[in-house]
């Protein structure tokens, strides 16, 4: 289970994996979400939204696909990072190379949205 927040957004979001919710989301959206998870990070926008929707639906039962789409529009990079951490933790995805955090990958003046991620082992 991963709890996360975004800058300028007081709400705390939670992503949690529930296989039954994933199955229900597949039936609801008409998408095969498990193969999309397995081939991370190579999925379409539709699949990414579906996967995030299925993971958020576990705790935020009233969340809609449109709301998840809106969240992804605002915080795409941060959401992908949260999802990647969740998949790394589950052993589904292994980053190809270690990221050297001391080397800036973006220009020093570029500002990325600050987010707080907290992983809770369930």
């Amino acid at each position: 289970m991963t709890k996360f927040t975004f800058e300028n957004d007081p709400q705390q979001y939670v992503m949690d994996f529930d296989f039954n919710v994933l199955c229900d989301a597949e039936a609801e959206l008409g998408l095969d979400l498990l193969p999309a998870i397995m081939r991370w990070p190579m999925q379409s926008a539709l699949e990414l939204r579906g996967v995030v929707y299925a993971l958020m639906k576990t705790k935020h039962t009233s969340v809609t696909v449109a709301e998840v789409g809106g969240l992804l529009t605002r915080e795409l990079t941060a959401m992908r990072k949260v999802l990647a951490l969740e998949l790394i933790e589950a052993g589904i995805y292994e980053p190809r190379e270690e990221i050297d955090e001391s080397a800036p990958a973006v220009p020093a003046d570029a500002s990325l949205p600050q987010q707080q991620i907290e992983t809770v082992s369930s």
């Binding site: 039936a27 095969d32 979400l33 498990l34 589950a90």
Partner: protein, 224 residues
């Protein structure tokens, strides 16, 4: 001493059925893809496993849950489909997928070199009809077998059929070759067989490879 027998406990022998092990809910289960498991899975996940577009290597979550549930039920598990789903973590789902894929591969016969009826889609009803009519199995016996087992029975059945056809072909070819009509090319018993023997695989030799590559080499030398 009365040795514990799997058959006596109502479980088929693994070496006969094929399958793969899977640790789940604190126990080790042997997953088999019997016809009952495959048909249960189709009913639960609403998929067509015989469809040409079906790809077992990239299953949906619904298919993994349904296939795992059906295989576990067949192995004696008492959980419902949603209970099975509730026990699957993300890591567990990945492991389940691998185990199901292994069980699938180990429960299926080798693909035939030549399809029986080209262009005709194969249905569950065809499989059932062949098993009941030609192999003499009951529906229950067929349901509890894996395609690997039925494939082995089918191979023996075809061998017997070919032997009978060959013997009849031997008589027919003798009559045809020594009859009143002039035969320019003698008939062989195989000429009268409905299910002719498959040509044996010829080994790939150095000479064969050279015969393929030499013209290419000659062409390239000429072109350059």
């Amino acid at each position: 001493m009365d040795l514990p027998s799997r058959a006596r406990r109502g479980l088929p022998y693994r070496s006969l059925t094929g399958g793969a092990p899977f640790a789940f809910a604190g126990r080790r289960w042997w997953l088999r893809m019997t016809y009952r498991v495959l048909l249960d899975c189709e009913e639960m996940a609403d998929v067509d496993l015989l469809s040409p577009s079906f790809d077992v290597t990239r299953p949906s979550a619904r298919l993994v849950r349904a296939l795992l549930w059906a295989a576990l039920i067949s192995a004696g598990c008492k959980l419902s489909e949603r209970q099975v789903g509730a026990k699957l973590s993300l890591r567990g789902a990945s492991r389940a997928h691998t185990a199901l894929l292994n069980a699938w591969l180990a429960s299926m016969p080798k693909a035939a070199k030549k399809p029986d009826a080209e262009g005709k889609p194969h249905t569950w009803r065809d499989s059932w009809a062949f098993a009941v009519e030609s192999l003499g199995l009951t529906t229950e016996q067929w349901l509890d077998m894996t395609p690997l087992q039925v494939g082995a029975l089918r191979a023996v059945y075809m061998e017997r059929l070919q032997r009978e056809e060959y013997l009849v072909g031997l008589i027919a070819s003798t009559v045809a070759n020594f009859g009143p009509r002039v035969v320019h090319k003698p008939f062989k018993p195989e000429s009268f067989m409905i299910h002719p023997f498959e040509a044996p695989d010829t080994p790939v030799t150095g000479e064969k490879l050279l015969s393929v590559f030499m013209p290419i080499k000659a062409y390239l030398e000429k072109a350059l």
